[in-house]
Amino acid sequence: MPKRTDIQHVLVIGSGPIVIGQACEFDYSGTQACRVLREEGIRVSLVNSNPATIMTDPEFADATYIEPITAEFVEKVIAAEQEAGTPIDSVLATLGGQTALNTAVALHERGVLDKYGVELIGADIDAIQRGEDRQKFKDIVAAVGAETPQSRVCHSMAEVRETVADLGLPVVIRPSFTMGGLGSGMAHTPEELERLASTGLDESPVTEVLIEESVLGWKEYELELMRDKHDNVVVICSIENIDPMGVHTGDSVTVAPAMTLTDREYQHMRDVGIDVLREVGVDTGGCNIQFAVHPETGRLVVIEMNPRVSRSSALASKATGFPIAKIAAKLAVGYTLDEIRNDITGETPASFEPTLDYVVVKVPRFAFEKFPGADPTLTTTMKSVGEAMAIGRNFTEALGKALRSMETKATGFWTRPDPDPSTVDSALAALGKGHDGRLYTVERALRLGATVRQVHDASGIDPWFIDQIASLVELRGELVDAPVLSELLLRKAKRAGLADRQVAALRPELAGEDGVRALRHRLGIRPVFKTVDTCAAEFAARTPYHYSAYELDPDAESEITEQRDRPKVIILGSGPNRIGQGIEFDYSCVHAAMSLRDAGFETVMVNCNPETVSTDYDTSDRLYFEPLTFEDVLEVVHAEQTAGTLAGVIVQLGGQTPLGLAQRLADVGVPIVGTPPEAIHLAEDRGSFGEVLTSAGLPAPKYGTATSFAGAKRIADEIGYPVLVRPSYVLGGRGMEIVYEDAALASYIARATEVSPEHPVLVDRFLDDAIEIDVDALCDGDEVYIGGVMEHIEEAGIHSGDSSCALPPITLGRTDLEAVRRSTEAIAKGVGVRGLLNVQYALKDDVLYVLEANPRASRTVPFVSKATAAPLAKAAARIMLGTSIADLRTEGLLPPTGDGAELPADAPVAVKEAVLPFHRFRTPEGHGVDSLLGPEMKSTGEVMGIDVSFGKAFAKSQTASYGSLPTTGAVFVSVANRDKRAMVFPVKRLADLGFDILATTGTAEVLRRNGIPCTVVRKHFEGEDNIVDRILAGDVVMVINTPYGNSGPRVDGYEIRTAAVSRDIPCVTTIQGAAAAVHGIEALIRQDIGVRSLQELQAALGAKR
């Protein structure tokens, strides 16, 4: 049966910014979908507000709308395409996560789909609602003769209490229509019930929660299924959670395939899954269904289904080699599974079920250290910010690789000291609750003498997994006790997944990781590389998608094929998403792969993040799904050098992870292309970088280093408060604070526990009220191309990743820009950059201070590339392999003349806004965490608003980042004394626009003196009906609150900001932000915000160059 001919123009809805629960897996799925649809000759329009995605690259769609993903904006897109004479006939919303699905439902409810005659393909409204509406779903499961946990849907606290009287505690609370389990949790006590259920009712857009029988501690499974229009159904992958029910799947360590089911039980699960899928009526595409199985009786209950591609489908795609999103897109336009070829074998069809001859383990990555006070207990609300996946030939190998992919201090068992005190009892007690590093606790409990049974009883983890970890504890004993480390024992250790570093920790005489590696290589013990081929080697694989494994057999087979025609380039990816290192770096790696492949290189990708486009087997010529540790990367380099000619390794695009490996790789002779490791070091070392600046005559803020309060105070006195303090040994703003007086400085030093002569504290002059400027540039050693100059909207002091910024800069003059260009050129040449460079400046009193320079791809590269129509990462990759900027201009990859610092006067304005995860976290007492921004980065993702003027672009960026600006209502204003003068104009404008102004006494006085009418409200500690109550009651539409001093529960404003977060209203914490908000509000009130595709915007820009 051929594909449908009535589908000619599909609108793909993306998933927007990276947030907890919805990450780059939807860029991977959306990118695949766009690619497939265009190959089918279908016109593709795309809506996605996230500029860091590959899918929003102009070449992936015919019309790319970087616009907010709301029904309102999507309707504008549908209207715009119709006006342009290319009407959209179908919407594909099943590949953009919950955001896209919710938007599709909203479009339906607003009558937009009917009005424009647009069909939802993949899953229709009824199927979406059957899958998402908890009661409907329960009825469906019952209709196919299967079970769900007993439960009742409630719409009020009264109903909740009545239900719990029947079911008994504990119960699970699940709000309807939220993503990533937001607002859900388990209540063990009446108090917890009151708190969680009322939050859940608030979080649900339809004020609906499900109160459910507890299946806490049951075994947890997921199936990924696909269905085509002929009702053919296949199971792509089974996934077993090591953490039993009670921990969100996204926060659980998971394993594929399922390890502890007999065929009888597995097939029952498969039957139920297929029956449910059919009954829900997902016409075509993928879905995932989650099950719980009672460990003693085998009773199976269905927990939930997602009638769409999900994070688990991305994992399943990478775990099996079966590209679910790609196939889903083909099925949506009418193909059947048997008509689609399995890319990996090239010969067999997609109508089959992948079978694995390896084990896949996924481990979540958390960022609790970024949110002091947040409760780190894992619950049914997802809290992890990323994940790494690893493939091994057995469970322990895959687990070991996954643990060392985490980019945390611990890189596998025994690589960090045990917590103190550490006893069997303390370990077993800790196992009762899900927590980050729970498997480390399992290992510790076993090592200290607990039995598998005890660990199982304490944790609910299946004994099979515990026994696997017990086997490692036994192996540890063998490794420690052996008189000499024999070849066989070392092979056994490697086959069990131990890294050289772990072996070194047990055998001090081997002189560390390098000593173990030397011994291992001398004994000829190296990994073999196997292939992910969907079929357990039943058919030959054409796709070089590899993973390493150790076999005991010295003659074990490696499957790397030789290729000597084209030079190879290895691109090191960025590992698991975490705050500070996200999808932006993957974007740059993918661009490098694309441009180098076009330039005739064989591209080889190494990465371990299953959510990304870089780990799609289509992205590079070869893919190694491997941890980004020195050991693992070195083995890949060795394998590739053996199989051909290695031109070099790219380390500067994947963020800090690969950059941190550069020097060690270079030291053992691995060719690093681009900026040499010495130059990277030069930029990172304060002293040497200071010399570069001095010799170029560039000013930097004064600074000093101290190891005690007395020392720090001396420096602070000399350079003057405020000062920026931070540990010297971390990057990315970790542990940074701005302090305004001695007491705060003393408190910081007291809290900085790891201060020592080797790890002093850096004390920098903090440039209060300065304008922060971010620059991305390219340098080929000769010429410098300024990619873009971004002006931060918030003043210096807020981490650039959390700051909103505008490009082109909105207030900088020609001389400022000239200074930026001169300084950037001097730094690029002084450091010796070959490729990308990011420089951060602070402009204060007409002096341009250099804050820092990073000779690598920055977070803003995709944003700049899109805003200026110049693919910086692609150009950087070519420069690293020896092409000059001049040649790239001739070739057309870069504009023939000019650069990103000299955009035409009428160039569109692009605004980047950060998206923050505060509403995900609660303190153990259930209060919100502070949403105050500072020098430490806390955002998970970003959006872009682009339009002809700053106000419109800013308004779009706010709408897209889940904080739509208000156009009417009451605004609460409370600012620090130093901000009171600057506050007057924006607040006056708000009053003129018709907003009611609420203020605290001090602020109100200043406002009134300036002729601004306002109402005084009580501070939160001044009794009833105070500002916090008013915010929580929904009386306030926006908060402007600038803080003074450090954040913390006792600091004024904390309650106000957390109340704003819980009500989901904009909370502006800087005066500059307030001014920008006023611009945006004015644009919204004018109601003339339109949409334009990136292709149109870039063409206009190109025409003027």
Binding site: M1, H230, D231, N232, V234, V235, P257, A258, M259, T260, L261, T262, D263, R264, E265, Y266, Q267, R270, D271, P295, E296, T297, G298, T336, L337, D338, E347, T348, P349, S351, F352, E353, P354, T355, L356, D357, Y358, V359, R393, N394, F395, V452, D462, P463, W464, D467, S471, V528, K530, C535, A536, A537, E538, F539, A540, E551, L552, D553, A556, E557
Partner: protein, 376 residues
């Protein structure tokens, strides 16, 4: 888990893979094949079709769910030898009664663990299934000696093995609920789940030895005849083929699976041949030529019928066609006589192990018997 000692897997082409003993110690000979199922090792091991085969599991972790008292597909383990990578130390499943290792040892099955099973699978895929031996304990000898023993062992081509695995005496599996039909099932290596699934549909199943004659069969006055799966070369099964022809001549409804499909095909005049490495797994797609729909099936066969998907041909019993095929390699997966009530498939509607997509074929068999009863 019993103590392990060195073991070797030796292939007839001289390739040797070293590992550790698993199950019983000793020597065993058979045809080396691989099975790609990720679940169902207990069903696989007790499937009589694996008689005389040394089975490699491509899934690395085997034995995780132990051994239970419910999932055996026959009275014993039939594989000649077992090759795995990572045997479970401690099984975990609420139905598990003992470890797989213990059960293998108890039944004297010689196995080997710790080998690079993927390398072995790729070898067998490229070179084809071949004779092999697993040696451990006192039987572990020089490579030359072990290869010589492998080369001395009989080949699968021409092997008549049904007699080895078939029941000696007839037995009856009672229907669940009301009896609707009586079926004579020729046991060429039948699995327990097959009569069970027929019984669930109101069939009284008379399981007959493979050596049964037409008279034996007619004596029970069957509404239908069933040809089971089983080991060996279908070309060596002339008696069963003749028996099938007799059934076709009498227009008694007939349903065959796996080996039974090859027997029906031969009775209809088709040829059989040995596949290079066969189909052994639980993920194999089959397309129904009439509907175009795909079923994911459990399969275990080394021989196949020669034919083209959808091909129609004349037989002494009227027209017939190739009704099902495997889109992976075009292999014939089912035949249907168009003028007499007979059909068969190359796969396992009883699954165990494997998906249940093909279970409706038993219903189809019932319909065929109902229709046939009406006609007569």
């Amino acid at each position: 888990m019993s103590a392990t000692s060195p073991a070797a897997l030796v292939l007839e082409d001289g390739k040797v893979l070293r590992g550790e003993s698993y199950g019983a110690l000793g020597a065993t000979l058979g045809e080396a094949v691989f099975c790609t199922g990720m679940t169902g090792y207990q069903e696989t091991l007790t499937d009589p079709s694996y008689h005389r085969q040394i089975v490699t599991q491509t899934a690395p972790h085997i034995g995780n769910t132990g051994w239970n008292d419910e999932d055996d597909e026959s009275a014993r383990i039939w594989v000649a030898g077992y090759v795995v990578r990572d045997p479970a130390r401690t099984p975990s499943n609420w139905r598990s009664k003992r470890t797989l290792d213990e059960e293998l040892a108890r039944q004297g099955i010689v196995g080997i663990s710790g080998v690079d099973t993927r390398m072995l699978t790729r070898h067998l895929r490229e070179r084809g299934a071949m004779r092999a031996g697993v040696f451990s304990g006192d039987e572990l000898a020089s490579v030359d000696d072990m290869v010589a023993r492998v080369l001395d062992s009989p080949s699968m081509v021409g092997a008549d093995l049904a007699g080895d695995v078939s029941t000696v005496k007839p037995y009856v599996v009672k229907p669940k609920g009301d009896k609707r039909f009586r079926v004579a099932a020729i046991d060429l290596g039948i699995k327990s789940n097959t009569p069970r699934m027929m019984a669930e549909r109101g069939i009284e199943v008379h399981v007959l030895p493979s050596t049964s004659t037409v008279d034996d069969l007619l004596a029970i006055e069957p509404d239908g005849v069933f040809l089971s799966n089983g080991p060996g070369d279908p070309a060596a099964m002339d008696d069963t083929v003749e028996l099938t022809k007799a059934v076709l001549g009498r227009r008694i409804p007939l349903f065959g699976i796996c080996f039974g499909n090859q027997i029906l095909g031969r009775a209809l005049g088709m040829g059989t041949f040995k596949l290079r490495y066969g189909h052994r797994g639980v993920n194999i797609p089959v397309i129904d030529v009439d509907t175009g729909r795909v079923a994911i099936t459990a399969q275990n066969h080394g021989f196949a019928l020669a034919g083209e998907p959808g091909e129609r041909f004349d037989t002494p019993f009227g027209a017939a066609k190739v009704s099902h095929y495997c889109p992976n390699d075009g292999c014939v997966e089912g035949v249907r006589a168009l003028d007499v009530p007979a059909f068969s498939v190359q796969y396992h509607p009883e699954a165990a192990a494997g998906p249940h997509d093909a279970a409706p074929l038993f219903d189809e068999f019932c319909e065929l018997m109902t229709k046939s009863a009406k006609v007569s």
